[in-house]
């Protein structure tokens, strides 16, 4: 190999985690929208990844209902990732999901890249109340260094979603976004995935706001433009918060 035969520079990896509530109440258009939105956003993530000399983006999906399950047994690069449609049925075992997430947020599990990682992005989607004990697994999760460093965003689907529970996950009410219709959900999944991936997969900007703040602010600005989406930093105006699902 000479001067001109270049090998690609080693890139770090940034894993984007989708943690998706697939309990019975998500059945119908909610889960349908999640399936469609993440399927549609994957090529965009692939593009961000392939044009980024700082890091490669990988995707991991954990679904929880009665228990929890990973879509693949390891994070897949955005170029290889193929979405498998999820079906909704069963309980809302958020505690089980937290426990599983804790075990995989480790250098010995999902974050074992030879060239190192950037802090992951964790996107949690839920429409209801946890049906298991989620507090203790959450306490354990909060001790996890990867979790602590992660960019965390939660999407509360409909007014039955317990925002307080989601806020405990993100540590900030600004990072919990509420959506009230199918279109808003789709748009938000796209916005959150793209924004968090763009910011999360780059070498951090020196001396300015941290990545979580940048992501939250950027998403808040988008939320203002999406009819049927709101957050504490971008409250809904008028009565559009009435749920409109089926």
């Amino acid at each position: 190999m000479g001067i001109l035969d270049s090998a690609p520079v080693p890139r770090r990896t940034m894993v984007l985690f989708f943690i998706v509530d697939t309990s019975g109440s998500m059945d119908g258009t909610k889960i349908g929208s999640v399936n469609a939105a993440i399927r549609e956003v994957t090529p965009m993530l692939d593009e961000i990844s392939s044009n980024n000399a700082d890091a490669e983006i990988k995707i991991a999906v954990l679904q929880f209902s009665s228990g929890c399950e990973w879509m693949y047994d390891e994070p897949k690069s955005a170029s290889e990732f193929r979405w498998i449609d999820m079906e909704a049925d069963g309980l809302t075992d958020l505690g089980a999901a937290y426990q599983e997430l804790s075990s995989k947020l480790s250098r010995n599990a999902f974050l074992n890249e030879a060239t190192g990682s950037f802090a992951p992005v964790l996107i949690l989607l839920s429409d209801g109340e946890p049906t298991d004990d989620y507090q203790r697994p959450l306490e354990k999760l909060k001790e996890n260094k990867w979790y602590k460093a992660a960019i965390k965003i939660a999407i509360a689907i409909g007014s039955d979603a317990n925002r307080d529970v989601l806020k405990e996950f993100t540590n900030s009410s600004e990072a919990v976004i509420e959506v009230h219709n199918v279109e808003a959900l789709k748009k938000l999944i796209r916005t959150v995935s793209v924004t968090a991936s763009q910011i999360g997969s780059q070498s951090s900007a020196a001396g300015v706001k941290d990545k979580q703040t940048q992501v939250t602010e950027s998403i808040t600005k988008e939320v203002e433009q999406i009819d049927g989406a709101s957050s504490s930093a971008a409250p809904a105006i008028g009565s559009s918060s009435d749920d409109d699902w089926d």
Binding site: V9, G116, K145, A149, S203, A205, S218, K221
Partner: protein, 423 residues
């Protein structure tokens, strides 16, 4: 936050409207659209992040001042839009055909056609920095997205000039930690000295294909969060080939390019990087290597660039001692050189283009006799007639495209009085 749909028109502060045609690409700051204004096509960069008034006003100021150079080195902002659709943007020329982003070179999606093109690119990057600094600007956000390079010729276009500001100013937009000087990572204000550090990083990436601060020590950090960014690119920044501290050496199988290429380039280039990225210069910004010194280092290296007589590929000669071709391993001999007054000794080889100093245009080319390859000639590629003095004192003119023998003792007067003797 407003993305623009095809057909949308945006008001320009200088009057008139620009029409969006289609999206060309998007990044962390915004989206670039192909757009039309008064029958011509332009690129419109439209911000999707929020920026303060200082940023907007700085952009306006840069447009009013115009490009720092008369040439076409910069894709400089030409027109600014009004604040509209909850954001704003600026207009620039479209990227010409044949240019690739610097990031594409890093990811090996684009490759230089020759070492000569790579050297040209390095010199043009130095030149671009020089023009910016001459006009009193410095970079706020320098990164791999700032350069478009033509892999065939090495021509460079400097883009993303929205983050160029008068030195000492701060628009609140700071670049990626990997490309910033340690004092900026720690929260300081960018100036030309911090740019000199970034220049060393960019040049190292260009020549050696790996990041100069990312070795064993950085690799052993599993999670690169903001705290670690500040450590590895700030307070504990350590060159992977630091002459005293071996804690951050390149790792075999990971930092492949630098391990291969470090010994292939000339020693003066190695020495320059060892100095530029030493702990002394990392910590003492005013001692950093400036553009003109990099240009000297790089042009000295270009003086030694030859075509191997055995394999026909580019390699480096050494005037002091015989070297081996970096491609085929056969000995590289020095047959003839031009000893110049100001630009050092230029080693000649078949097919070599001769450059005087940092000039973009070759002044001469070495031609060989097809029937007898041992017979060489020098062709005048400049636009002026050379005056050549023979060892016996005769004066002979060599006009544009004319040739002369490569005979030791011949003294050439190039344009602007620069002299060279064939030895």
């Amino acid at each position: 936050m407003a993305e623009l749909k095809p057909g949308t028109t945006v008001d320009l502060i200088s009057g008139g409207q620009i029409k969006v045609v289609k999206e060309l690409g998007r990044g962390g700051q915004g989206i670039v659209y192909l757009s039309e204004f008064q029958g011509h096509q332009y690129a419109l960069k439209w911000y999707t992040q929020q920026y303060p008034d200082t940023f907007y006003n700085n952009l306006k100021h840069n447009i009013e001042q115009g490009s720092p150079s008369k040439g076409n080195e910069f894709l400089w902002p030409l027109m600014l839009t009004k604040r509209q659709y909850d954001s704003f943007g600026y207009v620039m020329q479209l990227r010409p055909q044949g240019f690739s982003e610097f990031g594409d070179f890093l990811m090996a999606k684009a490759k230089f056609a020759s070492i000569s093109a790579m050297i040209t690119a390095a010199l043009q990057i130095c030149q671009g920095f020089y023009f910016l600094h001459l006009k009193g600007y410095s970079y706020q956000d320098l990164n791999d997205g700032n350069f478009f390079i033509n892999p065939q010729t090495g021509d460079v276009l400097i883009c993303d000039n929205d983050n160029v500001t008068a030195q000492g100013q701060n628009t609140g937009i700071l670049g990626k930690a990997r490309y910033m000087a340690p004092e900026i990572v720690a929260g300081g204000k960018p100036d030309k000295y911090s740019d000199y550090f970034s220049l060393a990083i960019i040049l190292f990436l260009l020549f050696y294909g790996n990041h100069p601060l990312e070795g064993k020590k950085v690799l052993s950090c599993p999670c690169m969060d903001e705290v670690n960014d500040r450590k590895f690119y700030g307070s504990e920044a350590l060159f992977i080939l630091d002459k005293d501290n071996k804690e951050n050496l390149p790792v075999r199988g990971v930092h492949t390019n630098v391990i291969t290429r470090w010994p292939l380039f000339t020693k003066n280039l190695q020495d320059a990087f060892i100095e530029a990225l030493s702990q002394d210069l990392i910590k003492n910004s005013t001692k950093r290597i400036i553009e003109s010194r990099w240009e000297k280092v790089i042009t000295s290296m270009r003086n030694l660039l030859v075509v191997c007589k055995n394999c026909g590929n580019e390699t480096f000669a050494d005037i002091e001692k015989q070297t081996a071709c970096i491609n085929c391993g056969k000995p590289v001999t020095v047959d003839y050189q031009i000893k110049t007054t100001n630009y050092g000794n230029i080693v000649l080889s078949p097919k070599k283009n001769v450059f005087l100093g940092k000039s973009k245009q070759p002044v001469a080319a070495v031609r060989i006799n097809k029937a007898d390859p041992s017979v060489w000639a020098l062709q005048n590629l400049s636009t002026t007639t050379w005056m050549v003095e023979t060892p016996s004192g005769k004066l002979k003119p060599v006009g544009q495209n004319e040739i002369m023998p490569t005979k030791p003792g011949l003294k050439i007067t190039f344009s602007q009085g620069e002299k060279g003797e064939i030895v």
